[in-house]
């Protein structure tokens, strides 16, 4: 029983910490996709956020400043994507792919200048995002250890669930959310009502970049201790798949991210003891993502104007 509780606790802990970056990025993707802009550049924005967050936290010693800067770096790349796709009407998939190539390229180049290596310097405990509820539970008992395993986790993990709630509120309970959804469904109708579709989409893609940047920073400042070029490998694409799985709704994306977080967490539980090849275990989230795409992509309600550049009528 004790072993079972221990394993379950570790499993839940791993699921939660791997869910957090995916959920930040998925919520960002929701903003962009629902407003009608395909954002396949989430991965590049996460990479920028991961690097900026680590560097700023390393030099300032303040993890929250680093975390915020991670978001801002993502927002900068989001702005580039918005300029290309919303302002200039460039192909959204190609522009996103360009962001995915530019993000890692630029941060690796800056990393070489700052650290003389593609890897950043490791963060110490004070520079990392703090853990909450450490020492709250009595670890002498099996149940206490279980609670400690599950809940003594990084603040960014708790924050993301609050952000998910906030995004849901914005989407479905505010005028901004209604306009945002309308821009993705029928931009011409929005324009006739005096809504500036270009501005709305531009803002949403920047918000998308900001949240993706936070997701990237979450990886390097909570799950690991330093930025490496392989820190962000596929998480952005998994987040997009979670959004498709969740039918382009924040609450659906949350469930999708929990599923993919669980798959990512499997390697923590199975990798240590079962002797299963770690490399093969790391493939599980991608394989599950492809299967989920096959099963759910046709059933998802894609916003009607998704992926279509909006040209303002004269």
């Amino acid at each position: 029983m004790t072993d079972f509780l221990n394993t379950l606790g570790i499993m839940l802990y791993a699921t939660l910490i791997y869910t957090a970056p995916l959920l930040y990025a998925a919520l960002g993707s929701c903003f962009s996709e629902v407003s009608g802009v395909v954002n396949i550049g989430i991965e590049g924005m996460m990479t920028a956020g991961a690097f900026a967050g680590t560097v700023v936290a390393y030099f300032t010693g303040n993890p929250w400043v680093g975390f915020l800067c991670g978001g801002l770096a993502g927002a900068f790349f989001g702005m580039l994507h918005a300029i290309a796709t919303v302002r200039l009407g460039a192909d959204q998939t190609i522009a996103g792919t360009a962001i995915n190539m530019l993000g890692p390229g630029i941060v690796i180049m800056i990393g070489m200048v700052v650290f003389g290596s593609t890897d950043s310097a490791p963060l110490n405990a004070a520079q990392k995002i703090p853990k909450l509820f450490t020492g709250v539970f009595d670890t002498a008992t099996a149940f206490g250890r279980f609670m400690d395993n599950v809940f003594a986790t990084y603040a960014s993990t708790y924050l993301v669930f609050l952000v998910a709630l906030l995004v849901w509120f914005i989407f479905y309970k505010t005028r901004f959310g209604l306009r945002l959804r309308a821009c993705g469904e029928h931009p011409q109708a929005c324009e006739t009502l005096g809504i500036n579709v270009i501005r709305m989409r531009f803002l949403c893609v920047c918000i998308s970049g900001f949240l993706s940047g936070l997701g990237g920073a979450c990886v390097t400042m909570a799950i690991s201790t330093q930025f490496r070029p392989i820190s962000i490998v596929g998480q952005g694409f998994i987040a997009i798949a979670a959004v498709i799985f969740g039918k382009f709704r924040p609450q659906g994306a949350l469930i999708g991210c929990l599923l993919f977080g669980f798959c990512s967490g499997l390697k923590v539980v199975l990798g240590g003891s079962s002797g299963v090849n770690m490399q093969l275990l790391s493939m599980i989230p991608y394989v599950v993502t492809v299967i989920v795409l096959v099963l759910f992509v046709g059933k998802s309600h894609v916003p009607s104007a998704n992926g279509k550049p909006y040209i303002k009528s004269k």
């Binding site: 190609i94 360009a98 991608y286």
Partner: protein, 363 residues
């Protein structure tokens, strides 16, 4: 004879001007970025390094060395061109083959395993690389054709799976006695006397004319056959795959299968000719795809344009490597920027077309 403002606009937005101006703008951008990069990397010797990058094989001391360096560039161009065609062909069908890194990696894995583990003849290695690349492309095609899963997203996810599979297999292959690092078969493909034309360079193989023939074949299929017309029709009607039309689904499947085979062939051409190796510590597929995407975008997805740009980009890459050890990193960064600019090139082309449709250019 005086030309008015309308005539100038007509010329600027005309297809002939776009075909000429856009590549020239990009060439200027590459040169500017290259100069800026060298100024940053080697402040005192930027001009000298930049000149070597531009000259590449011309900077060789003797005619023999120049011929040898040109041969090396052509050998690598063959691989780059095949990969670029693997991006350009689906693009003509309105699909983005972002899974080309995975197809290239699996092609490389198949070629290396057949050559190093099973000691099979080169022809079998080439076929295995093409077949595995094709299978990986076909999976994306089947998902697109059958379930309307975005080929861009499925391709990117399949890349992750392919790269892990490839690394896992090749690592186990190396543990048998090789050293961790670059895995190479050496020149395995027969040269058929072509090496004699390039100072005895052993990497000059029939893969070079084969790449040019592949570009010609893609052109002929696209422009002169019914299958090519179907491919281009799929691009014109983006909604086609949403309907249960077996024709549209089959077109997606066939196009991505062919693209996967081209990427696999590109990997075989690179590794079996000895023009390059496979580094386990650094994913060579990613750098290759970056350059291939740049070549395809700059070539306007035209097979011959792609071939030409593949040569130009490879020429500059090899020149940068000759100039300095950090050269390849610099050119990779430049090509990443170029892909970004390529999105704008697409925009420029389409903007011109839209303007033409609105009456900016009279037929």
């Amino acid at each position: 004879m005086r030309y008015g403002k309308t005539d100038r606009k007509r010329f600027l937005y005309g297809s002939a001007a776009r075909s000429l101006v856009v590549p020239l703008l990009f060439l200027a951008a590459i040169l500017l970025l290259g100069l800026a990069g060298w100024a940053y990397l080697c402040p005192g010797r930027a001009g000298e390094k930049f000149l070597v990058m531009l000259q590449n094989f011309i900077s060789g001391r003797t005619p023999g060395e120049r011929a040898r360096l040109l041969g090396q560039t052509l050998a690598r161009t063959a691989s780059l061109c095949l990969c670029a065609l693997a991006i350009a062909l689906p693009c003509r069908a309105g699909m983005y083959n972002l899974g080309v890194a995975g197809q290239y990696a699996l092609g490389a894995g198949a070629a290396l395993v057949c050559a190093l583990e099973f000691r099979l003849p080169w022809a079998v290695c080439v076929l295995a690389a093409a077949a595995l690349g094709a299978v990986w492309g076909a999976l994306c095609g089947a998902l697109k054709g059958g379930r309307n899963v975005s080929e861009a997203l499925s391709g990117l996810l399949m890349n992750a799976v392919a790269l892990v599979l490839c690394r896992n297999k090749l690592r186990s292959l190396l543990s048998g006695g090789g050293t961790l690092g670059v895995l190479s078969t050496g020149p395995m493909l027969p040269t058929l006397g072509l090496d004699g034309l390039f100072g005895g360079e052993p990497t000059v193989t029939p893969a070079i004319p084969a790449a040019a023939l592949a570009a010609a074949a893609v052109y002929i299929v696209l422009e002169r056959t019914r299958a090519g017309a179907a491919v281009k029709a799929a691009a014109l009607n983006a909604q086609a795959p949403m309907y249960p039309d077996p024709g549209a689904g089959r077109t997606a499947l066939m196009t991505l299968t062919a693209a996967g085979a081209l990427a696999g062939l590109g990997a075989a051409a690179q590794l079996l000719s000895g023009a390059g190796g496979w580094s386990l510590s650094r994913q060579p597929a990613v750098g290759m795809v970056c350059a291939a995407a740049a070549a395809a975008l700059l070539g306007g997805m035209d097979p011959f344009g792609t071939l030409l740009w593949a040569f130009v980009l490879q020429h500059l890459s090899d020149g940068a490597a000759l100039a300095d050890g950090r050269g390849p990193l610099l050119t990779e960064a430049i090509y990443a920027v170029l892909v970004g600019l390529g999105a704008f090139a697409f925009f420029i082309r389409h903007a011109g077309k839209k303007r033409k449709e609105k009456g900016g250019e009279k037929p």
